[in-house]
Symmetry: C2
Subunit: 374 residues, 2 copies
DNA sequence: TTGTACGCGTTATCAT
DNA sequence: ATGATAACGCGTACAA
């Protein structure tokens, strides 16, 4: 199994031909005599020859793969955002036993439904499916927030899609890659990249309209950091719709918690303690909303009876809790597919901006008892 | 953005040094004078230099990446197994609009919860997380059942994990790759590969014990193709436990439907039509069980009142249906992590076999009303 | 149809 | 500390 990997030279020698013939036998089978081709393929099979993508990529100046790189900050949390279970440490296991029992694995044996699949994962699925349709392997790279190793991923692919994460927007703008690049959910600047994003403002407006006109709620508060561009957009959308409906709109978010380690939600806590709850907490993302739901449950605040809570994204976890989450769904799989489509599009130089529509997903947390759509 | 990718030569010229110095500046920063290093890095940044993984891989004889290849047969089904919604066709979209509305995207806008994440996806997540921990990018390759392009993936990585899928077991046994290989859920043959699998027999036995001793069910029928090795193991486990409990065990499965296009479940249908239902349908996998649940619902058979139904795997979709599925959970994330661990293990030549324990997941479909565990 | 020879961009081994 | 140069394995133009 180990040992040096066989090369065309080995195959050529084995088959009694030249390396060019070996290459031809693989790349243009039609242009080589049948029996030579057979001999070559058999020789290759026998010695376990696998063409080196490195050498091929070098010769052709293209790797053939597409890349997806995400800057993540909270990964590797088996049970979800707020519960801090420790991920499985494989090195600590004794793998030589007959059976490694479930109990030895601990909570990291399976990915908790609150931790997977998140937004990134669902977009990634679309990316993988569309790449497969084009016969392209996908290289998945992930790095900690603002880590510089995008280049590690970029060096391996012909085109790259990037999740800028929470604070890496600037980094992305400065990156100057000589290949097509798609950036998800970041501001459509005058950079040379393609942008794929959801209609954040439109989605937020539709959500607010629902809360106001269907449920008669008027005092809405926004929860979520304003650092990421897309969350800012959602806040603006909320304000815009409130104003359009002739209601007062808050100037500031009521809580700018970012979902880093030990998210405290001081703003929300303050509201709860003061006893002066708004009618609804409009959260910047599902992950924020789920954490807020957990907090409220601990504090004895009932949702939706005492207060409505909404999210944004449409991740699966929002359906699973005790209180199913009303949210604005993004077309996540579609976003991944569109990214691949753009990366494969040869001619189009410039940075195209593709904005995809959202869909209001009404569930229980806004006060709807029998949701029209699941 | 386009144009030739800059190389070390370009950087060298720009910085007024030799290519060796450029290489050193990146790889052994300590061994180069501070100001030259600065100059080099600045030059690289300016012209957008990204090291070519192909060239590096060629020179070092290793790519640095790990691969995960799956042979799949049913992919790209946005809404799940039995409903045949068409996946999104990106090419048909007009991406130049202001906003591409949700309705134009159709059902393929998001991955249906019955289609994602499936078994493979959850294992893949563990694989990605563990690979990230080791600083390794992951190459995801997928091919249609029995497609030969494993080599496409293998040529790009230093180690490869393979899902042999439903019928590609033989293919995997014949593959002779000169790198560490992990095979998921296939028989631990005398091949040179590592094997990572769940305790299929043990899990099935625990499940059957529950059905018999807790619910008093004695007439159990197995549903699922016996082509895949792991499903055979589960059937054997069921028979073994029945015999151990002094009950008659069926010689054959009652339905050997494989989940290919238009899975018909003739065996199950026959049972329903005949009106002589067994006490329980023990399904070979969650996906089979979910399809069976759907079929029974259409036929007006109530679960668990008229018949119990169980699955195997523990995928998320099993929790989401109208009748939450009792199943045997595999430690999917852990399996992916262990695979990476084995691939990174340098010395160990031979094929190790790691068998991970399962856990009975009791929900409603077996007749339990208040499940002890969720 | 098949063989020879060069280039792809990087690393690493020498000299200097 | 830095520069010249030889691999690395494959594709391909060109020669035979």
């Amino acid at each position: 199994m180990a040992g040096r990997r066989p090369t065309v030279y080995d195959v050529a020698r084995q088959a009694g031909v030249s390396i060019a013939t070996v290459s031809f036998a693989f790349r243009r089978p039609a242009e080589v005599r049948a029996e030579t081709r057979e001999a070559v393929l058999r020789a290759a099979q026998e010695i376990g020859y696998v063409p080196s993508a490195s050498a091929r990529g070098l010769a052709q100046r293209r790797t053939g793969a597409l890349g997806l790189h995400s800057f993540e900050y909270l990964l590797d949390r088996p049970q979800g955002l707020t519960e801090g279970a420790v991920p499985l440490q494989v090195a600590d296991l004794d793998l030589d036993q007959d059976v490694v029992s479930w109990d030895q694995l601990g909570p990291g044996a399976v990915s908790g439904p609150a931790a997977f699949p998140l937004y990134v994962d669902e977009v990634q699925r679309g990316f993988e499916l569309e790449a497969r349709r084009h016969g392209r392997p996908v290289l998945v790279g992930r790095s900690a927030e603002s880590g510089g190793d995008v280049t590690e991923t970029a060096g391996r692919v012909d085109g790259l899609a990037i999740f800028p994460g929470r604070a890496a927007e600037r980094l992305v703008r400065e990156v100057r890659l000589h290949m097509p690049v798609v950036v998800f959910g970041s501001p459509p600047d005058d950079d040379p990249h393609h942008h794929v994003l959801a209609d954040n403002r439109g989605g937020a407006r539709e959500l607010v309209r629902h809360l106001v006109t269907v449920h008669g709620l008027s005092d809405l508060a926004f929860v979520g950091s304003q650092a990421p561009w897309d969350l800012r957009e959602r806040f603006f959308g909320m304000r815009g719709e409130l104003e359009a409906l002739g209601l007062p709109a808050p100037d500031e978010v009521c809580d700018d918690t970012d979902l880093v380690d030990g998210a405290t939600f001081d703003g929300v806590r303050a509201l709860v303690t003061s006893g002066r709850l708004p009618h609804a907490l409009v959260c910047g993302s599902d992950q924020v909303a789920l954490a807020v739901l957990e907090l409220l449950a601990r504090e004895g605040v009932r949702v939706p009876e005492d207060i409505a809570v909404t999210g944004f994204d449409g991740i699966l976890a929002g359906r699973l809790g005790a209180v199913p989450l009303t949210t604005v769904a993004q077309p996540m799989e579609a976003m991944g597919r569109v990214a691949v489509h753009l990366l494969m599009g040869a001619g189009d130089e410039g940075g195209r901006v593709v904005r995809l529509g959202t869909r209001l997903q009404v569930r229980r947390s806004c006060g709807c008892s029998r949701p029209p759509t699941s």
